[in-house]
Amino acid sequence: MSYAYLFKYIIIGDTGVGKSCLLLQFTDKRFQPVHDLTIGVEFGARMITIDNKPIKLQIWDTAGQESFRSITRSYYRGAAGALLVYDITRRETFNHLASWLEDARQHANANMTIMLIGNKSDLAHRRAVSTEEGEQFAKEHGLIFMEASAKTAQNVEEAFIKTAATIYKKIQDGVFDVSNESYGIKVGYGGIPGPSGGRDGSSSQGGSCCS
C-alpha cells in the first residue's frame, strides 16, 4: 500500500511493562496475554491517516532487559517517534524512566517525538504510580503523556496516532528535512516534502492493518 510518509517508531521501557502487548493491540486490535518474551527486537506496521494522508508506521518493539541495552541503543538511529512505557502497578518501572530517557536522548535524533505511556490502566486497584506523577514527569522532560491499557485497548490507538500527528506537525512546521532519512521519516508516493504553511496536523483515526 502506498503512503505519503513512513515513520519509524521505537517502543522502549523496562521488561514486562507491556510493550509487545501495546504493539499487538495497535496492529492487530487484540490482547494476547500469553506470548513469547521479546529477544532483540520485533517489528510491527500499520497504516493510519492524518490530515487525509496515509501514513505508515513501522514500529520497533525492543527487549526491555537491562543487559540488552547496548543492543537496543543501535535501534534508536533514525526513529521519528518513541513510546516510552512504564507499568503503573510497578513503581520501579517508573523509577527507571530517567535512564531510558537518557539513552533515547543520547542515541536518537534530537527531534524525536517521545510519548510517555503509563500502561495497565485497567489495573487501577494495584496502582503504584499516580496519574499526576506521570504527567509531572512528562512535563518536566517535554514528553507527551497518556495512560493506556493494552488489555482493554483504552488510549492505545490514541497514543500511536497522537505521536504521529505531532511528528506530522513538525514536518509541516519545517522542523524536519524529510529528504534526510536519519530523521526516521521516509517520503512515499503522494507525500509532499517540505513545509507547507503550518497547517494543523489534525488527526483522524483509522486505517487498515498492514504489515
Binding site: 519509524k8 521488561t15 514486562g16 500469553v34 506470548h35 513469547d36 518474551l37 529477544i39 532483540g40 527486537v41 520485533e42 517489528f43 527487549a63 532487559q65 537491562e66 543487559s67 540488552f68 547496548s70 543492543i71 543501535s74 535501534y75 538511529r77 533514525g78 520501579e92
Partner: protein, 657 residues
Amino acid sequence: MQETDLLDLSDEADYAASQQHGSTSMMRSDSDSGKRSSSSETDPAEVLFAKDNVAIHPTQFASERISGRLKLIKQGCSLFLTWIPYKGQSSNGRISEKDMSLYTIRAEPLVDVRSIRRHTPALGWQYIIIVLSSGLAHPPLYFYNGGVREFLATIKQHIFLVRSAEDANVFLVNDLQNPLQRTLSSLELPRVSLASGPSTSISAGESPLNDDQERADGSIHDANSSISQYSGRHRQKNHDPARDLSIHVLEKFSLVTKFARETTSQLFRENSNGFGALDRKSYNLSADEYSPKAANNAEKVSNAHPVASDPMEFDKLSLVWGKPRQPPLGHEAWATFLDSEGRIVDSKDFKKRIFYGGVEHKLRTKVWPFLLGYYAYDSTYAERAYLRSTKKSEYETIKFQWQSITPEQAKRFTKFRERKGLIEKDVVRTDRSLSFYDGDDNPNVNLLRDILLTYSFYNFDLGYCQGMSDLLSPILFIMEEESESFWCFVALMERLGPNFNRDQNGMHSQLFALSKLVELLDSPLHNYFKQNECLNYFFCFRWVLIQFKREFEYDKTMRLWEVFWTHYLSEHLHLYVCVAILKRYRNKIMGEQMDFDTLLKFINELSGHIELDSILRDAEALCICAGENGAASIPPGTPPSLPIDNGLLYPQQDEVL
C-alpha cells in the same frame, strides 16, 4: 599411473553405495550395468560421458591427489554429474577413506550448477571448477587424461551453455526449462572483449591445444627436466589453484553468471559484469576493473593460452559440499556404541554420527546429558546412577537456599525479589504454545521457574538474564526430571553463560568472530556490510544469543542443537550456520541495497523460513572450506568454547539482577 586399470570394480561398488545415500534415485544403464537397470521401473539412465583419471588435489601437492571417474548421466530430461573416487587407490597413504568420501560428488543435478569454469594452464593439467547455485563450488577437478573440451561439448549437446561475457572460460549452465534462458543461450552471447590484448578475444574453443593429447601423460614433469623447470617457474606465477583458490573469487564468477541469468536484457545492452552492479547503478565497470589485469594476463600467457585465469585471483582452495543428512540415531545403533558396562567407547565416532543425523526423539533423554557434558563418555551405568543421586541431593540443597527465604527476609533482599520477579514474568512467556507448557498453573512452567531461580543461586554472579528460559525449555522438555534438567542446563551454561554477561562481552566476541568469518568466506558481502555500517552484526544477535531457538520450529531447534553440541567439526558451527544463511541471501541483501534497519527486519522475518538440513550442509561445507583460517578467525575463549579458567568465572558482575 596404473589407476586406469584398477578402478572399474571398485568404482561400481562405490557407485552402488552412493546410490543409497544420494537424494536422487537413479539407475544406471551404461554398458557394464545395463542389465541391472532393466529391472527398474524408473527411467533408464544413460551415461553420456565418462572420463577416468579425473582427480582432485586435497592438498597443495599433486602427488596427494584423489583420482576418480567423472560421469555425465542423463535420466529422463535431467542431467546429473558424478565424480566417484577409486576405492583404495589414492596415490598417497595420507589420504583417508573419509577424505575420499568427503569429496565424492553423488548425482549433482546440472540444474543446481550455476557455472563451470575451465582452466587451461600452459603446463600442468587442465581443470574445471563447478560452481553451484548456492555460491559454493566443488574443488577443482583435474583432467589427467584430458577431455575438458569433450566434457563441455557433451553438456552443451543436452543443456544450454552460455559463455560468460565476463570471462570466456566461464560457462553458464542454464536450465533447459526456462524459455528466457533458452533465448539467451540461443543467441550465443557475443563475447565482449574486455581486455586490450588481442589474444584475449580468441575463444577458448579455438585454443591450439588438443585436449586429448596434451596431458595424456601425467608424468610429463618428471620425464623432462627442462619442462619441469619451466613448469616450476610458471607455477610460481600462476600458483597452484589447489592451494590458491579463493572462495570469494568463485562467488565472483557465480555472481556474474547468476546476474547473467537474471538480467538478460541488461547483459545485452551493456557490457555488464554484474559484480560492479553492487556499488554502481551503471554496469560499465568492466573496462576499468578488468582491463589492467586482463591485459597483464594476456601478456604473460599470450603465446599459448589466451584466456588463462588471472593468477592473482586465487589465494586459497577449499570448496567442498556438505554431506547429506542421515536419519537420526535410533535405539539399535545407540546400543552398538555402548560397551557392556554402558561406556561410550568411541565418542568421536558417536559424535560424528549425531553430527550427520541427530538423535531420535525418544532417545534424546539418554543422549543429551553426554552431548552437554553432564555425563562423561567413559562413565558406566553404575557411575551415572551414582552421579544422578548425588547431583539430585546437591540440587535440592541449592534449591532450598532460595526456598527458605522468608517473606520478611525477602523484603530486605531486593536483588532476590527482582530476580524472582523477572523469572516469574518470563517463564509464563516461554513456549506457552507448546502443550508441554500451556494452560494455567502448568507444573512444567513452575519447574522452569524453580530451575532458573536455583541456577541464579548456583551461579549468583551471572544470575538470570532473558534468553535463559529459551535455552532451558527444550532441555526440560526432553529430560523432564527436575534435577537432571538442572544439571544439563548447568552444563550448557558452562559454555553459553557468557552470552548473558551484563557487558555482553560473550555476544560481542561471537559477533566479532562472525564478522571475521564473513570477511574470510565472502569478502564482497563483508565489504557491503562495512560500507553500510552493519559490521556490528547486531542483526544476528538473536540467532547467536539463543542458538537459533526463535528461527526454527521446536523440533528443528532440538535437532540443530544436538548437532552443535557434538562440536564435531568445530565448537563454533553456529557461526558457520550464520554465514551459511547470510550467504544464501547475500544477493538479495546486496541487490536490494539493504541498510541496517532493512537488514535487521529482513533477518527477523526469516524466522520460520530457513531450511535446516540444507543450511547445515552449507555450514559444514563452509566450516571445512574455512579450515584453519576459519578457526584462526575465532579468538580463543569465544563462546561456546569453555572459558579459560581464571578463578572467577563471572568477574565484575556486581550489578546483575
